[in-house]
């Protein structure tokens, strides 16, 4: 198992994809943190109304849901689908024929790599937000709050990686899996949430919407996602949000390992 994990990490390190996606994530974080810091502090009223914890939460949400979550998501998807695309799955399974061991090693790999991306994103986000908000006179929130915000965003990134790996085990076709994953996260889900919060007759679905992956991520960040209307959506507690996101990843992994990865390699 440790050999297989080492092999999986080496696979990630020996192509450029991981660096490209990390750069993409960091870019998203930087742009979004700058924009968020600017808008939060430029709106004098908003700054006066909101407590500093709330400002920090909304600005630092850039670390994970600025589009940066797409990086671990795609990396998770690629970890398995690239093996089928280039047929390296044959060599992988000859070296380790127990497929569940291969999947388990990939889970460890994506957690490690996701954590790496999360560290980079966090460093960039904090490096921009802390001085900027400080100069604008927003006090750093009380002890314990800042680490909790950082932890929430960190977990969002790591869990999106797991979600991607899960999706990749279910949908072995690389292009389909990436398109489905990215379009869902960046378009379908925000539109769904917008519809639920905006359309009166869909409002009763607010409770269900809280269990969407993006809303579970918002729960981890403890921000209100699309509409700045706290009454529109029920939000899960932070821990529950984390468990929901973890649940999606594990459910997909279970399904994919049982029904898709187990198929004949011809």
């Amino acid at each position: 198992m440790t050999g297989q994990i080492r092999s999986e990490l080496l696979k990630v390190r020996t192509t450029r994809t991981v660096w490209a996606l990390t750069a993409l994530a960091v870019g998203f974080v930087a742009l979004s943190t700058v924009a968020n810091s600017y808008f939060v502090t430029a709106g004098v009223q908003a700054a006066a109304d909101a407590g500093s914890a709330e400002i920090f939460r909304s600005v630092l949400a850039s670390i994970s849901t600025s589009g940066a979550q797409v990086a671990p998501l795609c990396l998770g998807i690629l970890l398995l689908t690239a093996e089928f695309r280039h047929n390296t799955i044959t060599a992988t399974l000859l070296a380790e024929p127990r497929r569940e061991v291969v999947v388990a090693a990939k889970v460890v790999a994506i957690l490690v790599v996701g954590a790496g991306i999360a560290v980079a994103a966090t460093v960039v986000g904090l490096a921009i937000a802390l001085p900027w908000l400080g100069l604008d006179g927003v006090a750093v929130p009380s002890a314990g709050e800042l680490p909790l915000i950082v932890l929430g965003n960190f977990l969002v990134l790591v869990l999106y990686g797991l979600l991607g790996l899960g999706l990749g085990t279910v949908v072995r076709n690389q292009v389909v899996a990436v398109v489905v994953g990215v379009v869902f996260v960046t378009t379908v889900e925000p539109l769904l949430v917008l519809a639920i919060t905006g359309l009166r007759f869909l409002r009763p679905l607010g409770g269900v919407a809280a269990y969407l992956p993006g809303e579970a991520a918002s729960a981890l960040q403890r921000t209100v996602s699309v509409a700045q209307d706290p009454g529109a959506l029920h939000q899960l507690p932070m821990l529950a949000g984390g468990l929901v996101l973890l649940g999606y990843g594990l459910a997909l992994l279970g399904l994919g390992t049982r029904f898709s990865v187990s198929r004949d390699i011809t």
Partner: protein, 332 residues
């Protein structure tokens, strides 16, 4: 000792029965050629043996275990499969390092096998830029990483240049000479004829022959060829002994059936006839192959009505080709 055992393997893909109740064994120290026309079920058999394809039925063992149950399979069995594939952006060396990591093999071993297959110079080149033959060598390097005692090779000579083919042949011979066991599928019959100790031929997913190579290729095939400047006298003498003689299409050539080369030679000596050429043609592997596989195809083109009685044993091969005794199959 049987290193590889395949008993009663059947595998269906959709409506196609790819492998149909196939059984054979590979003994330690043997190079066994695994032959059959395209679509005969060779690749499916090898993939089932290596745990990549789940058999519908059958008992498959390598070193006494299922491949999935081998401890450190890479150190026991090396495999090259037809669609050997690589991530194009990864270098040859990194491709092997990824595989070496599974068994905890050092980078030194990676460099050793790269040198062994003649890829040391391009070790740090991306596989995407490799020729087919170079990829094939890289596939072999991967198979050899764990220094296994058993090799399972699916069309390994494919894409190799003549130099590479000769290298492979010599490598396999010395590998088997050191007690290693090889199961090798190929459509290059001449290659197998030069390398294998034993041959298994399949067609339409069924076994057609399973015998030592020598046994398959020492059967006399066709008439004895005799060339003599005194062909007329010889023909008359042979005919006088009741042996059937035909005139060949060349001057002085006789085709003798019903008598061995030895009989013809003795008669010629007795009669004092000069003989320039005396050849008892043996069947080549190629002849045996086509003989068996065309029979199988002929059977398959007239299938029984669904649910109807089966048309007897399909092309069980000739008696001397020896359908090995079917071991008792058991679901794995």
């Amino acid at each position: 000792m049987s290193v590889i055992e395949i008993r009663g393997l059947s595998k269906r893909f959709g409506t196609t029965l790819a492998v149909d109740d196939l059984s054979f064994e590979v003994e330690q120290g043997d190079v066994t050629g695994f032959l059959g026309p395209n679509g005969a079920g060779k690749t499916t058999t090898l993939r089932a043996l290596l745990g990549l394809v789940e058999p519908d039925r059958g008992w498959l063992r390598l070193n006494g275990r299922r491949y999935q149950d081998l401890a450190s399979p890479g150190r026991q069995v090396g495999a090259v499969l037809e669609s050997a594939s690589f991530h194009p952006a990864r270098t040859a060396r990194n491709h092997l390092r990824v595989l070496a990591a599974v068994e905890g093999l050092p980078d030194r071993r990676v460099d050793e096998v790269l040198a062994l297959v003649g890829l040391a110079e391009v070790a740090r080149g991306k596989v995407g830029g490799f020729s087919f033959g170079m990829r094939q060598r890289l596939g072999l390097a991967a198979a050899l990483l764990g220094d296994p005692r058993v090799l399972v090779l699916d069309e390994p000579a494919n894409g190799l240049d003549p130099e590479g083919i000769r290298w492979l042949r010599e490598f396999l011979r010395s590998f088997a000479g050191r007690g290693g066991t090889v199961l090798i599928s190929s459509h290059v019959l001449a290659e197998i004829a030069q390398t294998a100790d034993r041959v298994v031929i399949i067609g339409q997913g069924r076994k057609l022959a399973d015998a030592p190579l020598a046994e398959l290729t020492t059967r006399p095939a066709g008439p004895v060829r005799v060339r003599s400047p005194q062909a007329g006298r010889l023909a008359a003498a042979l005919a006088g002994d009741g042996i059937v003689v035909e005139r060949g299409d060349e001057d002085g050539l006789l085709l003798v059936s019903g008598g061995s080369a030895a009989a013809v030679g003795e008669l010629a000596a007795r009669e004092g006839v000069v003989v320039h050429e005396l050849v008892a043609e043996r069947s080549t592997l190629e002849q045996v192959f086509f003989e068996l596989t065309t029979q199988a195809t002929a059977h398959a083109t007239s299938p029984p009505a669904p649910g109807g009685p089966a048309p007897g044993p399909p092309a069980a091969g000739r008696g001397d080709a020896g359908e090995g005794p079917d071991a008792e199959g058991g679901a794995a």
